[in-house]
Symmetry: C2
Subunit: 695 residues, 2 copies
Amino acid sequence: PLVAQPPAPANVWAPLTVEEIASIQKWLDEPALGLNLTRGDQATLSDNHIFLIDAYQPPKAEALAYIENPSSTPRPTKYARVTIHHGTVPVIKDYLVGPLPISSKSNMTELTEVYHRDDIPYHARGAMVAAELTPLVQKIMVPLADVTEELFGASARGLPNDTLLAGAGGPWSFDGTFRRAWLSWRRNVAGPWLHPVNFFQYIDMSGTDPAQWKLLKIVYNHQAFDGVEDFLEAFHNGTLKRLPERPDQRKDPSWSTRKRPDPDYRRDLDHLPGPRSVSFAGLRFRVDRELQYVSWLGWGLYLGFNRDMGLSLWDIRFRGERLIYELAPQEAIAQYAGNDPMQSTTAWLDRFFGMGGSVRDMMPGYDCPHEAVYLPATTHSGIGIIKRDRAICIFEQDSGRPITRHTGYSKDEFGAVKGYVLTIRSISTVGNYDYCFDYMFQVDGTIEVRLSASGYLQGGYWEPKQEGYGAPIRETSMGSLHDHVINYKVDLDMVGTKNSLLQTTTATEEVEHPWIEEDWGSKVIQQKISRTYIENEDDALLKYPHNFQGGYAIVNKEETNTWGTVRGYAIHPGYSPVYNTVVGSKRLLNNANWARYNLAVSRRKETEPTSSSMWNQHLPGAPVVDFHKFFDSENITQEDLVAWVNIGMHHLPQAEDVPNTRTNLAASSFFLTPLNYFDTDVSIESINAVILTAP
Amino acid sequence: PLVAQPPAPANVWAPLTVEEIASIQKWLDEPALGLNLTRGDQATLSDNHIFLIDAYQPPKAEALAYIENPSSTPRPTKYARVTIHHGTVPVIKDYLVGPLPISSKSNMTELTEVYHRDDIPYHARGAMVAAELTPLVQKIMVPLADVTEELFGASARGLPNDTLLAGAGGPWSFDGTFRRAWLSWRRNVAGPWLHPVNFFQYIDMSGTDPAQWKLLKIVYNHQAFDGVEDFLEAFHNGTLKRLPERPDQRKDPSWSTRKRPDPDYRRDLDHLPGPRSVSFAGLRFRVDRELQYVSWLGWGLYLGFNRDMGLSLWDIRFRGERLIYELAPQEAIAQYAGNDPMQSTTAWLDRFFGMGGSVRDMMPGYDCPHEAVYLPATTHSGIGIIKRDRAICIFEQDSGRPITRHTGYSKDEFGAVKGYVLTIRSISTVGNYDYCFDYMFQVDGTIEVRLSASGYLQGGYWEPKQEGYGAPIRETSMGSLHDHVINYKVDLDMVGTKNSLLQTTTATEEVEHPWIEEDWGSKVIQQKISRTYIENEDDALLKYPHNFQGGYAIVNKEETNTWGTVRGYAIHPGYSPVYNTVVGSKRLLNNANWARYNLAVSRRKETEPTSSSMWNQHLPGAPVVDFHKFFDSENITQEDLVAWVNIGMHHLPQAEDVPNTRTNLAASSFFLTPLNYFDTDVSIESINAVILTAP
Ligand SMILES: [Ca+2]
Ligand SMILES: [Ca+2]
Ligand SMILES: [Ca+2]
Ligand SMILES: [Ca+2]
Ligand SMILES: [Cu+2]
Ligand SMILES: [Cu+2]
């Protein structure tokens, strides 16, 4: 693509470079710091090691000052966020390290002001290496191998050729005082999530010595046992109530692969390549690869990327005006239901696994159209630096419909403007699930933020008493009912940072219109709009109104368009505008309270950079970031506001989720769209348009 | 495109050909029939004339028998529906004329069994020719010409160079006993709907003699007058409270054209053509132009087209199985609000104007992508036959995202399937408004039915006391608040016609799971699905559940997929799933009761072919088709069911609606999507797919 011209010659939100990460790593190893670090790939749980080195975003005031006037303003001082697992204590600490580049002025200070508890418990730590569990698995599964072979035709001995594979549920703690997980055993085949054998173990991984870890419980066919011996005894003495025979489990498991089930079956003309989008005169978007800056038809923005949530967008401008300072996903929950101990206790917060760290290289031509431009992303985790060359893609498409059109009769009222869309995409695969994050920029100033999901269901064992918890997808496999809710930070800045939250509602009114008289009566029943400002954060935890009669917008009360209306952007629901169904479950007690609403608006704080943390997953009772704490009765009139916007999906699984969920229905979105921000629709200025003389 | 192979060699739902229409017209003119017809273009209101000749759909049983076995089953007997305005009575009658082609066996019988009142009042008749009003306009506006020139800088004398233009509100009657309309006067410029001068006249057009028509009232600046004299007197004696000066009204009105406001302004790279979709190996969809049959990657369907609602789809099959017998829009309402006599009394039912008759030629490359194939449509109205060569377009596009994908680690679980979409489109321009009807077929068996709107707002006069009824779009113009609701007939047939209505809801439950114990407590709070069948039509007037926790599906209780689940299709909300806000207004009392719900399901009847009629517009108190009458307590268990599905938009106008509303936000849709209809996702069989070895 053509080279872009960013407003400033630096991306102050850019991820750290490999060199920066390496220099920080080296600096942290200096004995003078006394960190006593072991290399991540050699560290045991009782060693100190670096879990994460990531960019830390500069204060907004500094960043704005710089990008407004880059030639005469110093760049904001650059800092890294460093997470160290202090296995010797054990505790986790987050640090700010800087200024960067590392110099004699650099130091490290503990990062505490963005968190809501004094410590980060070691039991909530991330990135369990599968190998950590191997000794325990050998201890508890080898004695059961003959029995699991008889029951399931498979076994696990902690070896590469194991025919059973463990998947864990979560959370593993409530408040950090323990680390315990339900394991669900699955056949070790492609798409293992769809092959649970209905055998569960509750294991205790508390403390830092894996030799002390132990099995607490076994559940098989709704019977609980306190350990291997109890289970074996019941098996051998005939008191174990066995599951019915499962002949399907021994069959060819290729139904859970992505292979074409019948290679000879061919739909008419499917052998031809489908239509392909081509920019015959060259791409119309510009990219600065170095700075990770993108521009297109009046739009411009910087890209950020981190381990926790992957792609983020910064300083989004349209036609020269900043609309959004930051647009970034925050967290993605999935809360399950079922009649087994895993599904009924599981609620995932996928930031724990790292939406950014889980990005894989996209498949060109399939994950993005052929013309897409790919950008790399680098993340650091305890065991090293991961660089993905195709972490992000950018492409323009014809939406297939005009953005506006009219066939009229008067001169100059007959014509159409092409509706093009620029998409910026990143796809994260967190275990079974694939999240496709799309930011779709449109020629009228609208952005659709869309998440499409694919990948494998987290399956359960199908039996009639699972009725109500999902649907069978095979003789004895099911997809388990769950809710997805995903939170985005949307820091809209409408003509500056001083903004207000406008609530619009519509309702029926009865009014007297005396001139109408006998035919229609003087009583008119019609709609009317009410517009009010929500002035206090406590009133800004919001749901969309009944029948979507009204909505919410961020506006600047002191800036009006030429017709006297306050300028702003609406947050408009798109596909599947839902929030979390279940409130009050212990496993999600207070660690994802944002999911109770469609959206919420709070006063922007440097101390509230994000609505979640990777450790929230395992701390439902005492989260590191407690979203409700943002809402402390502050006034939000003409302040710098942030909207926390949710999308989601009630995922009632069905046979068509196999092998993978379809992105057309597993989709949710919201729009950020001008609401009297302009004087007219600005897409009318497009050159890719036609005006015809009425025939 | 390549030639298609329809299942039967005839399209039994096809519109009439020009020859058929002409032969019917000729036959109706035969004196023996005693119809005493005057040619439509010469008829006065007190003459008898043909208003409409259109195809009438065959009974479903006959059509099914034929398409199942076309070689050995006779084609269903073909009939035309003929609407005659019996101006001599006056009354309107609908007739069935056939068999076709016209022969000695053809006859005409009155079509009454599909209507809910004994007569079709002449006052509800369609297609007022503007010329009918000219004498009245001259009578009431010529004496006011000097005054309107002073007040508005414009006048109307019933001449081609009139600078004022009248737009009428509607309905014009309540029960058929009168025909009266509020006229809103507008400047006669491009986009006149945005230039109301705030001058209204209530006129009486009752009876068949235009000489008797008269002015009943004038409203100007909230002052009502009983006639021209009263108004003139107030004007001259100085008691008329005038509107403030409106300098903007005299300015260049080009802001309401589609011209680029600043020809020199150019967004970066906008001078380049945008990306274009190209099928390098040829189009993958097939079209039989003669039969109006389309097929694509396992999909196949026939097209229908009529004057009332335009494009309809018939016998939609996928992979050899019929999914839908009929998919057709039924009606589109727009109910307004305001502080003036027109907006506060107007509710449009656009079938009155003819969604099919209002189709204009699409703009190639703008209304549809460059590769689109266009099909013609012919409609007959009283003044002749209209043929549009580009009434319908068909095109395939890359959706830009895979329909499914996963980046895994095991063999054969790493890959993606391209997400292609075939769109069939028709655009109707009803005066100010452009309706873009899209049917989007997807590779997994899903159809998205989407309506996007563009065109001009119906504007009002902006003044501070209009607050709540819309938003200013210029100094003294506003867009007026209104609701759109559009109804579709969806005759799903799930493995035959015997189907049931499945209601799914989810709610929170508390259950005891004793094995969980101390860490999480034995009390589990989680979701659970309830599935029930709605057995009676009276319970099938439906709204989507709160937070979309559940939904509705048409299923066959006696047909299960391999995993034992009933096979069916879900009706899944898409963009903007809303129903009408206002209930109980006299102007929409009983003529659009379907708009009170998100959807409704009734037993299919040949006597209930459609949820509305063109005459419903003017008969809110006594509609020709009364939707609620379909719901007469019949059992709907394993019967042939029809779903009446709504989409809509609460249109709160904003500055960006000028010059024309944007199709990205003015969009609403629903999905028809397999729900355990298949054993797995069938899109996995696509050849346009990739499987990779995990790196
Ligand atoms: Ca606060
Ligand atoms: Ca802000
Ligand atoms: Ca009925
Ligand atoms: Ca049916
Ligand atoms: Cu899901
Ligand atoms: Cu509208």
